[in-house]
Each structure stands twice: as structure tokens, then as C-alpha cells.
């Protein structure tokens, strides 16, 4: 009986970047996992939580817990959504012992995609091939809240034909920050432009990240600047043959 994982694709992937979800499913299936998609899923509540709407975030988090309570593993193509679930759900249910038990149980089964591959599946080479020169953008939540740095790089190192160049400075915020991107649009835009300058300096033709929200911000800025650099989610790279 092949091990089963449930996909939590995130609302952003569901509505705007479905390719990322499909790529993730492809990679997992090729590794021998049975993949399911609980249809009742929507969002992790992060937009409300980060904007200071705790009550609304709690309601959405409660729905997430309902949807995924029976899943063995929940794989997420987003560092920020994973961090929301494993680091912040508990804050939303402070004082509610029963809910906190559920949070603990579900959160322990949630994994960001790259760490699922390296830590649970125990693989670094998924047999991918992509002839290209890329750089990697560390999303802030993945990097600082989840401590993810080497897992995606090890996976990329095994992609045949791929050259990875690191950015200098190494890790800087792309400026998305949820509603920050629209509340402080000019500032967010300035931060994005600084980041794409660093990307362009590497000479890479694509930038890879774990986070669809970063990719949206970065691609939006690249496109506006007329730069011919594309964005790829790690899942899309790993699904390439």
C-alpha cells in the first residue's frame, strides 16, 4: 500500500498558479506516493492573521483543521502557509485545550514541499532535468520561521543540466508581505526592484522559490521592468524532464 499524502495547494496556487499544484502532484506520484486533494480546502487564514484580524483567521484555521484532520501527511507548496499552520495556529486557539490538541495533531503532519521530499521521502534526486541557469530566492517565512535553507538547494543540485547561482545579498525580503504589498505599494515596489536587481546581477535566466506569493511579487516586478527572466516554483523545476 503506497503511502498517501494530501495536497494543500493554497488559495493562491488554486486560483492563480495551478501549474504549481499539478507539478507538485506529479513529483509526489512519481516518487510512489498516492496523492489526494481534499476538495473542501480553501485557505490557511494567513491573510487575515497578518492583517490583524485574529477572529477571522481563527475561523478559517478551524475550517482547515476540519478538512485535513484525517490526512496522513499534508504537503504544501508554500513556506509562508506552512509557517502559518505550524507556528501560528496555536496562537489563534490560545486557551482552548481541545482545539490546541487538534492543532498539534494536524500541524505535526504538515510539511512544506521541499522538506517533505528531503526529510519524509528521504530523497534529493527526483530524476528531474532542466537545462538552465537559475538563482534561488529564499522566502522569509520559509527561511526564518521554518529554518529552510539547504533542502531546496540540495534538491536543485540534483537536477540534471541545472546551474544554480546564489544572489548577493543572499536573503532579502521581496517586499510582498501580504496586504503590505497594496497598503504600502510604493515601498513594496521599491523592495521588489531591489530584489530583482540582485536577481538580474546573477545572470540567471530564471528565479526559483518555494513561495508562490514571492513568485507573484517578483514576476510582477520583472515583467514591469521588462526583464526577460522567468519565475519557477521549485515543484515546477522538479517536475521538469
Amino acid at each position: 500500500m503506497s503511502p498517501r499524502v494530501s495536497l494543500f495547494v493554497t488559495c493562491l496556487v488554486d486560483q492563480l498558479f495551478p501549474r504549481i499544484g499539478l507539478a507538485m502532484a506529479d513529483v509526489l506520484e512519481r516518487l510512489g506516493f498516492g496523492v489526494d486533494f481534499p476538495e473542501a480546502q480553501t485557505c490557511c487564514g494567513q491573510p487575515a492573521f497578518n492583517s490583524g484580524y485574529r477572529e477571522e483567521a481563527r475561523l478559517v484555521a478551524g475550517h482547515f483543521l476540519d478538512v485535513f484532520q484525517a490526512s496522513e501527511f499534508i504537503v504544501v507548496p508554500s513556506g509562508s502557509c506552512t509557517a502559518m499552520i505550524v507556528r501560528h495556529f496555536a496562537e489563534l486557539f490560545h486557551g482552548d485545550a481541545a482545539a490546541l490538541e487538534r492543532v498539534k495533531s494536524v500541524a505535526s503532519r504538515v510539511r512544506e514541499f521541499s522538506t517533505f521530499l528531503t526529510e519524509v521521502a528521504g530523497v534529493e534526486d527526483v530524476g528531474a532535468r532542466l537545462d538552465d541557469v537559475v538563482t534561488f530566492h529564499d522566502g522569509c517565512h520559509a527561511l526564518r520561521e521554518l529554518g529552510i535553507h539547504s533542502a531546496p538547494r540540495r534538491l536543485l543540485a540534483h537536477v540534471h543540466g541545472l546551474e544554480l547561482r546564489e544572489m548577493e545579498p543572499a536573503a532579502e525580503c521581496c517586499g510582498f508581505g501580504g496586504t503590505f504589498a497594496v497598503k504600502f505599494a510604493e515601498l513594496s515596489g521599491a523592495m521588489a526592484r531591489t530584489r530583482i536587481d540582485a536577481i538580474a546581477r546573477t545572470g540567471a535566466r530564471a528565479v526559483v522559490s518555494l513561495d508562490p506569493s514571492c513568485l507573484m511579487q517578483i514576476q510582477g516586478a520583472l515583467s514591469r521592468a521588462g526583464l526577460d527572466i522567468r519565475t519557477l516554483h521549485l515543484a515546477e523545476v522538479l517536475a521538469s524532464r
Binding site: V9, C11, V13, D14, Q15, L16, F17, P18, G21, L22, A25, F37, E39, A40, Q41, T42, C43, G45, P47, N50, S51, G52, Y53, R54, E55, E56, A57, L59, V60, G62, H63, C140, H141, R144, E145, P169, E172, C173, G175, F176, G177, T179, F180, V182, K183, F184, A185, E186, L187, S188, G189, A190, M191, T194, M216, Q217, Q219, G220, S223, R224
Partner: protein
């Protein structure tokens, strides 16, 4: 956000030279710090941080005890402690002492606490001359400006700006060489040190078991301020306390490294009272003014209390991608950067600048570099939710409140969510051939969409959502 906040941000972003100055200066400080806390250089860095955090937590959680212990020890060595509720009590004390002693000239070393209470302005209003002696602060005093950065106050000034300020205010011939500008300031200030009757300093740390004031600096003006005049007054927030002199081994190891990438600052002074009998020099009188000015208000909430752990190293400013774009003067109060963003609403009330806690992408770089492990993003999130709870009570910002309530409803009703997604996609559908979207029809070009498009392109909506594609797999 307030017009003023928006305007200052906009002006700073539009000033190319200033952008370069801020980014470069903070970049250098950031890199210097990294070099001296690296694994190979300071292997117990994380341990030191954890220890410093624990010491600060312990001290703040029992602050009354340590305040009294400090007071006893200062007085045992011939000094005097004065508790001051606010700015007025500090300036009243200084003014009355100055009057009693016939003092007209005061020299000051760098102190954000005295900036906080506008001490110089108050003293000058009453006819005293109070001269800043830290080079950057002196230049800013001449220019009537606030510091730009906790550690690098004149970061925003070029040598040409400085030349103009010196010529205009000191009537010296124009001088653009930085070494010579420094020499001019040195010579002017030397006279002040030697003539001043009172020296006012801040305090980086107050040591409870010693009754001591610790001053950390690079120029020597702190030493001169506290050694040359007959009277030394240290003005310090009540949160500056640490329990024991020996704890300085931890805090001093962290402070200079975090602030400037030095192993230790050039001068660290440990001052415990007026000169002792027989000592060759030193002040005859020693006062420590312990300032509240709203700090007790921050003690109420155990989650936000950590805001008082700050040792004013400035590392969070250097790490912050927002500060590195908008600089110190965009912030509405004397404290800028991430620490300023959490202190300002707590001291001044959220209404002072309600948008301030939201001026962050929550990237967490600040929390990563804070030597005393203040969880700044956590406090920002707490402040954000307080702003909205307050708005809900006052029935303000109803549109946004409604929008998030609608969002929460939608996200618990998957079929409605899916429908809403399909409607939005069809509304936004373009014939752009799949490329990213530069502009949208006027009907859609509002609010968040408009704000997004002002800076970057939008992704084209895919023909089908993931769940639609999954069903057809």
C-alpha cells in the same frame, strides 16, 4: 496611513542619493556585524543571546526590586537617584540644579532617551546652553534635525551638507574634508567640555548591584562629559537595568558586535558615583534620573513587555528592508526602524500613526539579529490586531472589516469560494495571450488592484483553477 507618513515615505523613496546613502551605510553595518558573530568567530553567539534575553526578562519581570537595589547602591557611594515621571520632571530637576549651582553651560553625550524628552529644547528655552558632543549629534544639533539612525545619527548627511552647516552656524571658512570637519568640531567642543559645569549623559546599562551607569562609545565625548564637569547627570529609562556587574560580560559582548561589528567599542565606562575621597579628578556630584515617560505602561502586557529589553544597538534597523528604504526620518517618533515601530504605538498610542505597525512585510530579519531576542514581528502582529479591535469598537474602517468577514465566510464555504473564484477570473480574463497584465479596465482598477498595478504587473488568471484541472485529471 496619515498624509505625513505617506509623504515622508514617498519623498525618501524618490531621493536617489538618500536611497544610496541609507542602503550603503546600513549594508556596511550589517556586514560588519555578520563578520563578528559568525560561527567561527563567536561560536556561543546564540547562547549569549538566549542568556541576555533571560537576564532582561528576569530584570524587567522584577523591575521594582532592581530599581530599589540600584537606588540603594548609588546612594551608598555618594550619588543620588531621582525618579522622574516624564520630560518635565527631568528638565525641572536639571534647571533647578543648574540654577542652584550657577551653571550656564551643559555638555551632553549621545542619548536617545534625552531626544525622546526633547531635553535640549527645554533647557535652551530656559536660557541654558546645552551642547551635543557626539560628532554626528553635534552636527544635527547645529542643523536642528533629529537623529536618522540610533548608531549613525548623521547617516543622511554628505560632507557637503556638513560643510554648509559648519560654515553657516560656526562662521568658519567652508571645509569639505571630513578629517578637517572633525577637527573643527573637536576644537569647538574641547572648549565646551572644559568650561561646562554640568555633563549630561544617557546610560547603556544601569547596574543594580553596583549602583553604576555604563556608557558605551567610540569618540571619547562620553568620558569627557562625565569626567570634566563638576556635576554628572545620567538620564536613563527605567528599563536599562541589569542585575549584576558580571552580567556585562554577556551584554558588552553582544552590544558592540551587533551595533557596529566591533568586538568592543573604543570606550566602555563603568561609573559608580562622584569621585571618591582622594581621587585625582572626576565629578563632585553624581545624579541618575530614572525616567518612566510611559515605560510602566509597557509592563502591563507580558507579551509586549519584551519591547523594553532593547539595548539600542540598531541592528534591527540595519537588517530591516523597510528601514533601508524609508530611512529614519519617515518614522513619526525619535525611535525608528523595527524597534521604533513597536515602541511608538505603545508609548504614544496607536492613534499617533495607526498605519505604523502595518509598515512591515513581517520578514523577521529584525528578530533574527536582535541580541536580546525581542520577537518584534510577534509584537507587530499583536499591535495590528489591537488597531482593528479598536476600530471595531469605534466603528471605523468598516469596509475593510467587512471585507475580512466576507473572506472568513467564503473560506469556510468551499463551493461559494470556488464560485467567487470563477467569477473573479472571468471578470479579469484578458486576451493578453497569457502575458502578465499591465493595466485593467477602469471598473476593476480600484483599491488593492490599483495599488498592485501601480508598481508591478498582475498575473493573468488561468483558464481553469487547480481544482478544476484536478477533477479532469
Amino acid at each position: 496611513m496619515s498624509r505625513a507618513f505617506e509623504q515622508k515615505i514617498h519623498e525618501t523613496l524618490a531621493d536617489g542619493r538618500l536611497q544610496q546613502a541609507i542602503y550603503t551605510a546600513t549594508g556596511r553595518l550589517k556586514d560588519s556585524r555578520l563578520a563578528v558573530i559568525a560561527e567561527g568567530v563567536l561560536p556561543d553567539y546564540q547562547e549569549l543571546r538566549a542568556h541576555a534575553n533571560a537576564l532582561k526578562k528576569h530584570t524587567i519581570d522584577h523591575l521594582d526590586y532592581y530599581l530599589e537595589q540600584f537606588e540603594r547602591n548609588v546612594e551608598a557611594r555618594g550619588g543620588r537617584v531621582v525618579f522622574c515621571k516624564d520630560a518635565t520632571e527631568v528638565s525641572d530637576f536639571v534647571l533647578s540644579l543648574a540654577k542652584e549651582r550657577g551653571a550656564r553651560l551643559i555638555v551632553k553625550s549621545k542619548s536617545m532617551t534625552t531626544e525622546e524628552i526633547d531635553l535640549n529644547e527645554r533647557l535652551e528655552h530656559h536660557g541654558l546652553e546645552s551642547v551635543e558632543t557626539d560628532l554626528g549629534e553635534y552636527i544635527l544639533q547645529l542643523a536642528h534635525e533629529r537623529p536618522y539612525h540610533i548608531v549613525a545619527p548623521a547617516l543622511h548627511k554628505t560632507r557637503y551638507d556638513v560643510a554648509g552647516i559648519l560654515t553657516e552656524r560656526l562662521h568658519v571658512p567652508r571645509e569639505t574634508a571630513i578629517e578637517k570637519q572633525t577637527a573643527i568640531a573637536r576644537s569647538v567642543l574641547r572648549q565646551k567640555f572644559l568650561a561646562a559645569e554640568i555633563g549630561i549623559s544617557g546610560a547603556n546599562f544601569l547596574v543594580a548591584d553596583s549602583g553604576a551607569v555604563v556608557l558605551v562609545e567610540n569618540e571619547g565625548n562620553g568620558r569627557l562629559t562625565t569626567s570634566a564637569p563638576r556635576i554628572h547627570i545620567a538620564v536613563a529609562g527605567i528599563e536599562k537595568l541589569i542585575p549584576r556587574a558580571q552580567d556585562l560580560a554577556t551584554f558588552l559582548k553582544l552590544l558592540a558586535r551587533s551595533a557596529t561589528g566591533q568586538l568592543l567599542s573604543v570606550y566602555t565606562s563603568f561609573l559608580s558615583g562622584p569621585r571618591r575621597a582622594g581621587e585625582a579628578d572626576g565629578p563632585d556630584e553624581f545624579y541618575v534620573l530614572l525616567l518612566d515617560n510611559g515605560r510602566t505602561g509597557l509592563l502591563d502586557d507580558p507579551e509586549k513587555r519584551q519591547s523594553l529589553y532593547c539595548i539600542r544597538c540598531g541592528a534591527c534597523l540595519n537588517a530591516c528592508p523597510v528601514y533601508r528604504k524609508i530611512g529614519g526620518h519617515s518614522f513619526p517618533w525619535v525611535y525608528s526602524g523595527p524597534i521604533g515601530a513597536i515602541l511608538t504605538p505603545q508609548f504614544m498610542g496607536a492613534a499617533h500613526e495607526p498605519a505604523l505597525p502595518f509598515a512591515s512585510s513581517l520578514c523577521g530579519a529584525c528578530a533574527e539579529v536582535c541580541p536580546v531576542k525581542i520577537d518584534i514581528p510577534k509584537v507587530l502582529l499583536e499591535l495590528r490586531s489591537e488597531v482593528h479591535r479598536d476600530e471595531a469598537r469605534r466603528k471605523q474602517n468598516r469596509l475593510e472589516q467587512l471585507a475580512f468577514r466576507a473572506y472568513a465566510w467564503l473560506m469556510r464555504h468551499p463551493r461559494a469560494y470556488e464560485m467567487a473564484g470563477r467569477v473573479a477570473a472571468s471578470l479579469a480574463a484578458s486576451d493578453g495571450g497569457g502575458g502578465w497584465v499591465r493595466s485593467v479596465p477602469a471598473l476593476l482598477n480600484r483599491g488593492p488592484v490599483r495599488a498592485w498595478l501601480s508598481q508591478r504587473d498582475l498575473p493573468p488568471p488561468p483558464p481553469r483553477s487547480f481544482r478544476q484541472m484536478w477533477r479532469q485529471r
